[in-house]
Assembly symmetry: none
Homo-oligomer: 188 residues x 4
DNA sequence: GATGAATGAGGTTTCATTCAT
DNA sequence: TATGAATGAAACCTCATTCAT
């Protein structure tokens, strides 16, 4: 119930959780997570009050991490297409580099263990991208689609693209680009 | 002759599983599933050898059902766009009508409990749609995208669309149509 | 609860029980026994009221069978040593010929599932051998050993001998004879 | 440091197992064993990975204990007969003193739950007795009996003797001695 | 704070037995 | 009588969480 005596230990637990959940699903045990993190079973609970809380924090961290990646070097002053491309490619880079993190992120997203509050906190992280997303949204709305649809569509299409990149890693650069062309044609 | 294994009981168990998994995730207990199905705890195991097998069969059934819905009244001889529209709208109709079934289907898809064999068997069900999908595929391939990408993209975009339909049920018809326009523009 | 519509079926169940118990111990399931016997699970219970009763009857049958083997061709009018040798060798012949039956018989003997009544009924079968045993007993008693000791000692030594015969089947005849010499020297 | 695994608790579980198995056979439940040992059901599994393992360790401990008893005060430098007598009487003392332990030991020996590895480990304990046993063996081998037979014969005869001691406890000392005379006459 | 043994509710699955067919 | 699906108690074992050390 206390907090953060050692940030390294906290990170170790979260990293271990990714590996264990990737292997065993959300049923991954706290005991195994702790063991892989190199801490005792009980220690886990000094950093996270419960397994559910651990899972929520993990979701938040993963989302934060991917948003951070998209924000790095974000080109604020270029054309909408160039900015969309930045989002598209930098997210895919992250997802390709850390496939387990992405896998776990998806599992958590789909599950009911992650609370609405956590989802909201997580989404709030992407502030750097908001202007760009907003511009895309306006176009969508202009076509009668609800707010948020453009972002959801991009995200969905990225999931599809990732499937194929993971099967043909050598065509990675090409696939990332071509798939962007598809979504861009859809949204522009 | 003794009592025969009844298809109704099997269905009751599968239906109950949908409700319980929708509420509790894949951790839903066999005891509760059995109870909701109106059978004894042990009876569940005369119909499904294990919980894992139950889950696999459930995935298969849900996929079959959605494919069946798309196949009903499929217009084999109309334009590609009209056929794509049929698939688009009939799947969304099913998903909107049975939101829990779709939710559970997604949970199962993401999980590792569903074996590759089951996934393959399930996919093999959609034969009626193959010609149409194949035509869409050809276009994708023409643009340097791998086989299967068009189908995956449609499926991903449908997931996105569903989010919004569930939030604004009254705009259902409109949203289904507009979102089709988006994906069609992307793939055509 | 009824009885013996078909003696063949009864035998088939008992035979199947031997095989299953030899493999799985007394925890062998009635379902598997029935299956191996070629009858339905429920049928077993028209021949034996309960698993416990089946086990008791099985013990009785196995004992009867081994006693029967010892009684066949029993030489009533020869020397005590020759009669003891008949008992010794004919029992070992049976045990060597049906190792699973002997194994199961031992498991049952040691267990508490077999009631005193069954044990008594079973022992009562060996009437043909009584005169011989009685003569051996007298000698034992003469030496201050209690009634029954000679029989028990023979039986115990046979168990020991069987271990070795099963490991070196080729020396069977020799081992049977030598071990008899050992016990005979002890009891004569 | 956390609580350490306590040898007392381990012993308590093994002791409880003896009592429960003596009463209910190998089907004795882990829950009851734990309860009688005064620990929670789950605790049993921090000391023994599974019921099967518990049973194997129990067999080993019981064998060790009886070997230990035979080794105490073992007279290495007296005649073979005197040494054999020591083994004979000290084992019977142990078996008479702890009839349930002996009963359970027999049940385990007969069952297939005890692995060959455990049996071997258990037998390896009796090293102090090896010289004596070896001398007895030589005599047996001299008479054409296989190695190990003398030990098996003694053991078998002890089982027989125990039956009678348990029925007539008052004649204990006498029966132990007389039965030794029987086996000694057989083996000398 | 860190540890890991202890807890005990609860999970999946088995199985002897019953009973509708 | 024979069948085998149905039953539900109970078995073994797991695991999130607590707490003595």
């Amino acid at each position: 119930m206390a907090r953060l005596r050692s940030p390294e230990k906290r990170s170790a637990i979260l990293d271990a959780a990714v590996l264990e959940i990737a292997r065993d699903g959300l049923g991954a045990t706290t005991a195994r997570i702790a063991e892989r993190a190199g801490v005792a079973a009980g220690t886990l609970f000094t950093y996270f009050a419960s397994k559910e809380q651990l899972l929520n924090e993990l979701y938040f961290e993963l989302k934060s991490e991917s948003y951070a990646r998209m924000s790095v070097g974000f080109p604020h002053k270029v054309s909408l297409e160039r900015r969309a491309w930045h989002i598209w490619s930098s997210y895919l880079d992250w997802a390709i580099e850390f496939p387990l993190k992405r896998k776990v992120s998806v599992q958590l997203k789909v599950s009911d263990l992650v609370t609405p509050e956590t989802r909201e906190r997580a989404n709030a992280q992407g502030s750097a991208l908001k202007v760009t997303i907003a511009e895309l949204e306006e176009r969508s709305i202009g076509r009668g689609l609800p707010a948020g649809f453009a972002g959801a569509a991009m995200s969905a299409m990225q999931d599809a693209a990732l499937e194929f990149v993971s099967r043909q890693p050598k065509r990675r650069a090409e696939l990332v680009e071509r798939s962007f062309q598809v979504i861009w044609r859809a949204l522009k």
